[in-house]
């Protein structure tokens, strides 16, 4: 067990290194990174001074060293616009994104799982076909368009819901719907195929042979097994929702890290952009590590596979 955990931590460390290296190299790819790392509108002398200050004339490996060292310390630079350390900014916005992701995930599971079950149980008939249409729509409609349509309908035409900002329950409804819509379709699809596979298994056949009522067969025997891959996917998607809700947060002016990223690129506030990608990416790597170790703790078979 210990070797497994150590090995897994090792992988994560390598991933983190590669992540920081990627970001570091890409920034320097453009030729003169000073342009990015300096406030827009700075004069030539300012740029030269900043270049020296940031050590951009030093050898590459040395620059990388400082980069990583400051990242580990939590120093990701200061935002040009807000004039505060980016990490502070990021952490202050994170809770909003977590809230939105939680709401969206709840919505996607409440819609996705039952419809997937219904689709699997009524294969080829109405429930399944309706489900197929729903999943196609969900996977084909861009999230931000769904958001815009919702605003059009519920804010402009009906005037029921606020179109931007956060603070009350009413503010959360539309953004979480827009964010969760795509994932609801994805979860429905997986639930359906997983259920179908389980319903065709030998132990379900035997459960029926034992004369168990159909509802018991489905709920007790089939469902639990079928939900395992779905919940795994949901976990992966949750992290995705937290980190990649850029467009939905922008459309609804939701004050999360996605919106922060948008501000960063709109105002050419590069430290924000760089930091968001670094922190977001690192967060994902760490969460993956924790999840993998947890799975190994729960299921002893996994420890020996790697």
């Amino acid at each position: 067990m210990k070797t497994f955990v150590l090995k897994r931590i090792g992988y994560s460390l390598v991933s983190l290194c590669l992540l920081s290296l990627t970001i570091f190299l890409f920034v320097r790819l453009t030729g003169d990174p000073t342009v990015l790392l300096v406030e827009p509108g700075a004069s030539r002398e300012d740029m030269a001074m900043i270049r020296e200050q940031l050590g951009l004339d030093r050898p590459l490996w040395e620059q990388y060293g400082t980069f990583v060292a400051s990242a580990v310390r939590g120093d990701f630079g200061k935002s040009f616009y807000y004039r505060t350390p980016v990490l502070e900014l990021y952490l202050s916005r994170l809770p909003s994104s977590l809230l939105l992701a939680a709401a969206a995930m709840t919505f996607s599971l409440i819609i996705g799982i039952p419809s997937g079950i219904i689709a699997a149980v009524s294969v080829g008939r109405f429930g399944d076909n309706a489900g197929k249409i729903f999943s196609l729509l969900g996977l084909s409609m861009p999230q931000f368009w769904v958001g815009l349509l919702l605003i059009l309908f519920f804010s402009v035409y009906l005037g029921w819901l606020p179109s931007s900002g956060s603070g009350t329950v009413w503010h959360v409804i539309m953004p979480s719907f827009a964010l969760g819509w795509y994932f609801a379709a994805a979860h429905m699809r997986l639930t359906r195929s997983s259920m179908l596979e389980v319903l065709g298994s030998e132990y379900v056949k035997l459960a029926r042979l034992k004369g168990l009522p159909e509802r018991r067969v489905i709920v007790k025997h089939a469902l639990k097994n079928a939900l395992i891959p779905v919940l795994t996917l949901a976990g992966i998607n949750l992290i995705l929702m937290v980190n990649a809700a850029v467009v939905v947060e922008t459309v609804f002016a939701w004050p999360g890290i996605g919106r922060l990223l948008y501000e960063g690129i709109t105002f050419r506030d590069f430290p924000i952009v760089q930091a968001t990608v670094m922190i977001g990416g690192s967060m994902i790597v760490v969460v993956n590590l924790v999840v993998d170790v947890l799975y190994a703790v729960i299921d002893p078979r996994i420890r020996y596979v790697r």
Partner: protein, 294 residues
């Protein structure tokens, strides 16, 4: 026996899934239609897509009150004809989508084959990079790259390729790993073929099916990402016509109720992605039943 709503839905579904000589009619027709519009936009479009008449701003579509037949689908905030912009936007979406998918697919498949077949440290290096890049959400990564290299049509293609090749690498590598154990590969090794020959002549044709299926499934995703990037302002730069950009502009008129600027471009995106997804689904079932779990 009364015809229930359920029956009607089933009939509608069945007719939508009509296969003609095996090909799903509607998705292919839509994609071909959009392709033709994209190619002949210059001829078909009634107006310029980039220059507008400020005196004609925010005109609604022809069938609504206030609309004219001159601007069938209305105009935007700069007085530009929506229909023309939609047509030229099709060009951008298709071009970017196809190119990005092809480039990403090529790189990803090549690296996947190398990684899967060569094994050992080559595999380790490529897989570590792939896993790391896969961990980053595509949109976030794309935004970062766009912020670094600056927005332009070609840059978008490069960025999207750089973000999405990892999907192919993973899947193809898995396939190669199982192909390696098959008889005909072993025979080729015994016969003395070089690694490169085997990869080229034996492995590549066998993974091509998976690559194509994956590409068709990715097309929709890539198009949506491009639209998102343009919407955020780091995609196709104005004044060019791109559906994502139109949606961003449309947001300005949203609270005033200018619905056509939001609904129409999004509808186009949805139609294209829907068709690509349906085509991809059909291809997946047709070309390789093993991939059904994708």
């Amino acid at each position: 026996m009364a015809v229930t709503r359920a029956d009607r839905l089933t009939v509608a579904w069945r007719s939508a899934s009509i296969n003609l000589q095996g090909m799903p009619v509607f998705p292919v027709a839509i994609l071909v239609g959009l392709g033709l519009v994209a190619i002949f936009a210059g001829v078909l479009a009634p107006h310029s897509s980039e220059v507008g008449n400020l005196g004609e701003r925010f005109k609604p579509p022809a069938w609504q009150q206030g609309g004219t037949s001159n601007f069938l689908l209305g105009t935007d905030h700069l007085g530009r004809d929506v229909l023309s912009r939609l047509m030229f936007g099709a060009r951008v979406s298709i071009m970017v989508g196809l190119l990005a998918v092809v480039v990403a697919g090529t790189i990803g498949t090549a690296l996947g084959i190398l990684s899967g077949y060569m094994g050992r440290w080559v595999d380790q290096v490529i897989m570590r990079v792939t896993d790391t890049w896969l961990a980053l959400p595509a949109l976030t990564f794309a935004i970062f790259l766009a912020a670094v290299v600056g927005p332009s049509l070609w840059n978008i293609v490069i960025i999207l390729s750089a973000v999405y090749w990892t999907r192919y690498a993973r899947v193809i590598r898995g396939e190669v790993l199982s192909l390696k154990e098959r008889e005909f590969v072993r025979l080729a090794i015994v016969a003395g073929c070089s690694k490169w020959t085997i990869m080229r002549r034996h492995i590549l044709p066998n993974v091509l099916n998976s690559a194509i299926v994956l590409a068709s499934l990715q097309l929709g995703v890539v198009i949506i990402t491009e639209a998102a990037l343009s919407f955020l302002g780091v995609g196709v730069p104005p004044p060019q016509a791109a559906w994502g950009l139109m949606l961003a502009d449309g947001k300005k008129g949203l609270m005033a109720g200018y619905w056509w600027l939001t609904v129409l471009p999004g509808l186009c995106i949805m139609m294209m992605v829907l068709s690509a997804n349906l085509l991809g689904d059909w291809l997946r079932v047709k070309l390789d039943p093993q991939l059904r779990q994708l």
